[in-house]
Symmetry: C2
Subunit: 350 residues, 2 copies
Amino acid sequence: MASGVLRDRRGATTLEEVASRAGVSRATVSRVVNGSPRVSPDVRRGVESAIAELGYVPNRAARSLVTGRTASIGVVINEPTGRLFDDPFFPRLLRGISGSLTERDLQLVLLMPESAEDAQRTADYLIAGHVDGAVMVSLHDDDVLLSRLALASIPLVLVGRPPQGVSASFVDVDNRQGARSAVEHLIAGGRHVIGTIAGPSDMPPGVDRLAGYRDALAAAGLISDPALIAYGDFTQDGGASAMRQLLAAHPDIDGVFAASDLMAAGVLSILAATGRHVPGDVAVVGYDDSAVATSTNPPLTSVHQPIEEMGREVARLLVEAIDGTNRARRRVILATDLVKRASSAGRRVP
Amino acid sequence: MASGVLRDRRGATTLEEVASRAGVSRATVSRVVNGSPRVSPDVRRGVESAIAELGYVPNRAARSLVTGRTASIGVVINEPTGRLFDDPFFPRLLRGISGSLTERDLQLVLLMPESAEDAQRTADYLIAGHVDGAVMVSLHDDDVLLSRLALASIPLVLVGRPPQGVSASFVDVDNRQGARSAVEHLIAGGRHVIGTIAGPSDMPPGVDRLAGYRDALAAAGLISDPALIAYGDFTQDGGASAMRQLLAAHPDIDGVFAASDLMAAGVLSILAATGRHVPGDVAVVGYDDSAVATSTNPPLTSVHQPIEEMGREVARLLVEAIDGTNRARRRVILATDLVKRASSAGRRVP
DNA sequence: CCGGAACGTGAGAGCGCTCTCATCACAAGG
DNA sequence: CCTTGTGATGAGAGCGCTCTCACGTTCCGG
């Protein structure tokens, strides 16, 4: 009877075997594997070659059982809408996190709860101690999962500023300054009637980017007319309908800052439909510097965020929290860059 | 002295405690937890309430140690270039996989090797049995990791048709038929001089989409002129320079099928720059139905792929392989849809 | 009324590892 | 020469779980 069901790490080498091969005890092999200094050089060499010959790889489960550590961290993406899937934010972030964790031989367990029920299970899983720490991509105010995790004592680092009263370490991009620089750029280009398509006000990036817009206007001594602010949901359609509102209230608008490239693409479509020239009549700046920014006509000036770096940073903070190197709450804000393209060139370009 | 380093699942409840609370043995609790039928209903109820009261969650490491199973599967994304990061393929795929695994209470361990060295470590990790199976997003011909895994006896399912001689279960999208339908659509729109911007010929999707282009031409009895085929690297710039080649050889071109939306965006930019109207003079069709497709001017007709479904399917096959339900090599091909937009409307639209 | 199947339950071994503690060899100090 | 210290090594317990096996009970057919 052939082995019906595949189970077990079929005959994987154990510490015991390495030990007997090297003529030492399990304990000594363990010390070598874990880099303890309390091993004489020649014994160490002997053990190392036994390990190499046998192709020994430690069993993580066994190790985890005794140490109480899992050598893995959870990354929670709790985003029911399609928002995150329309720009490369998410893969880049994961790449940054992954790179940083690999160096420390930690596993990345990805959790993407889809329903409220999923979210509960995810929280249970994390709190049960199946990972040594967690990264949460936090976007909404009403994140139940986030509040549960923040209460539990599991090491936790957020991507993005946490909403309201949640206190946790986080890494964020300087949304406010990024938005501000975008609007300052419009002002420097000679625009006077500058509107914005803001993101949802229950999402910190939405709030922060709007604040940056206001900062820039205030600093330039321009009035901030509420009719120059419309809200979108970060999608192209949302951007388009918000732009229609702005035009209805302010046909004389000559500059628009959209809180995402997708919304900026919607803005462009409406401007084209109403016969306005970009950047001649209206200058447009987006946010994210995504693939969309280069594929529109004209290409979008946009705010670039160091997403991979954010991932690396978040992993670093989490590792520190797990190791107990640093038990304080940490806040890291990364700077953005404005990438200038044709959509915001000076007035009336040929 | 306060606990300096956080370790251990601090005081997590164990089977033993549940057992004594319920007045039964560890074995019985284990049976209840694992849904064995060999437990009388009243004992089961008692145990279940003890579990609930104590908030018991099984320790995966301990379980894994004895069963030899890890209840986790590895997902390998081995893509050094930025290709995957410019469209939402990757997050959607992960979502599909994740959803399917969650139902079966399996963990998703994400592996994104960046260097050749990383790839070796990843292979070691997978082969060492730290996961019960693996999904590989396979794109290139020269994938060393893939060949190593295919040799090892670890359950493996690929996303995308494997290159050359590799034999493994896989789930793919019908690239060939998708491309064919795109080109047939151009033909039906009255186009006669139809070119294509193909993907790299060391990537199965590149090869398959080109084949689909040829199929459609052949079926329509159109000649297939090699000068109507140019190659890009799936990026916008690549698409643009390939389009320049096509125009140089065939100024009379009136239809283009690009193997990615990004390349199609490059095509549009060149057509605009050379004063050609889309779709009036040249109709364009892309591939991927990404966010880019709706943000170009005009919006791109594009081939839509059921990516999440692909993820779900790949997870299903892997679980079957792990459970031994099905030991045969499996091949699943999913159908695509052509999403029609303005870039390929009939000739000379007003 | 008895033998034995069928079922429910418990005892106990052991998965592979780490870690504490005991042991041993050797060196240095009195 | 004996004590004490120091550093290298081994013995053994035990992490929390599953699983085999044995045992006791019930229930059936003969």
